[in-house]
Symmetry: C2
């Protein structure tokens, strides 16, 4: 599993405040905690205020890179901000995100290719209205994205597909649509990765962490190999270890046994 640490996000009020106050110690502590828990990337989102996004993004990157060497996932919808951020990062970053919008693909793909970045691709087309509802709609969007990435020469394994997980509270079939979607995407693009936030699935329901970790088990069995999560969430991590063990991906049960001894505090 490739974990993208989700916590440094300026749309969360606690992070927004830390950014405005330039509370470097707080940002650094989150970065360290995620790195120690084994995050493969640390997502950095500076919020959506166009007047300050670039400056805040660069400050956040500085803070994170001053304490950890985990690669950054640059989370922005502004090509200008991303281009500045790419100059700043020490390691090849991930970009969060592209989608089927032809304008966005045109803006983003050349520098993603040039810098050899990985990129999260949402299975929606922002230039069209509404979220995709069916598996087929998502696959149609992905077809156009892969057509564009392959044309420019970006390898499939640089693409992290987000199948867009919706809430079971608003649509009872959201879980099975997600699992179907993951299975079909995995079959159609076996070299690409499948990622996404888990928390949408449980939106509006009680005991969300229980739903999220159960979803992860079923999603990993369907072919998901990455997630945008808090890697310090022990209950989630222990579920993941047990899942990989049961799916025959843990030789001699070694990873599970060691992790169990360590209280499941570090993701595999």
């Amino acid at each position: 599993m490739i974990f993208i640490g989700e916590k440094i996000n300026g749309t969360r009020s606690i992070i927004k405040d830390a950014i405005i106050e330039r509370n470097s110690e707080y940002i650094k502590s989150i970065a360290v905690s995620q790195a120690e828990s084994g995050a493969d990337y640390i997502d950095i989102n500076a919020g959506t205020d166009p007047d300050r996004e670039t400056e805040d993004l660069l400050w956040l990157i500085d803070m994170v890179q001053s304490v950890v060497d985990t690669p950054i996932c640059i989370d922005s919808s502004t090509p200008g901000a991303i281009k500045e951020a790419i100059k700043k990062v020490n390691k090849t970053p991930m970009i969060n995100s592209i989608n089927g919008d032809p304008k966005r693909l045109e803006d983003f793909l050349p520098f993603i290719k040039e810098k050899n970045c990985s990129v999260i691709a949402l299975a929606l087309d922002e230039s069209k209205s509404g979220m995709p509802k069916t598996v087929e709609e998502r696959l149609t969007v992905l077809e156009s994205i892969f057509k564009a990435t392959r044309k420019i020469g970006i390898d499939d394994d640089k693409i992290y597909i987000d199948p867009l997980i919706m809430s079971v509270a608003t649509d009872q079939s959201a879980g099975i649509v997600a699992f179907d979607c993951i299975r079909q995407i995995h079959e159609a693009y076996p070299k690409a990765h499948i990622t996404g936030g888990l928390s949408n699935i449980s939106f509006g329901l009680p005991n969300r962490a229980l739903i999220n970790r159960t979803f992860l088990t079923l999603a990993v069995a369907a072919g998901m190999d990455s997630a945008v999560v808090n890697p310090s969430n022990t209950a989630l991590i222990e579920s993941l270890y047990a899942t990989e063990l049961l799916l025959g991906r843990d030789k001699f049960c070694r990873k599970y046994t060691v992790a169990s001894k360590n209280g499941f505090t570090v993701k595999k």
Copy 2:
């Protein structure tokens, strides 16, 4: 999910002692706790001592039926003991178990048919040596079992197939073999049920409850619709509620939401 409460088993030393001491209060308390947690059947196994099995089995049935009206699952390999037990039970029982052994089928099927019992069928043939290793071996045994049950006129939905779950500690592929097996059995015998104990899967490993409940999630997704478990295991029950929610089997999330309010103390 159809839950078969597993706790009253004379091969467990605490139950063996209670049987020998005729500790009726202890047996009754376990029966009540399982019934309150929503067990669909209460398994009763009196141990394997041929000199006292029948007498102990009848005493246990009396104790359980004096406090709850949950149907009994008569757990014995002795036709004589089962026949006596069937006379004693107030409700149509389940029999645990038959297997592909032709002699056992010949002994058991006539009274299973006559009394309209449900029956657990192990995917092994006791008259041959060794446990089946592959999915194919299990399906071959099941073919002979269903040939016999159908011939005598027992409906498929009376059969609870136990696919024989093995430990991932001794065979890394035990989980995926189990899930494959469940999927294929569900496809071949869609009206039959699929059940089994969960604890074998985690034998020899630490944090067994974690592995067991993660296994249940993946097994239910594969088609398992029953389990031999302790229905008072809250962590297992909450996993199950989340699983059924995510598989689109919980209209308006009602069962999950109510169960969550009640602390997941009663299985669905």
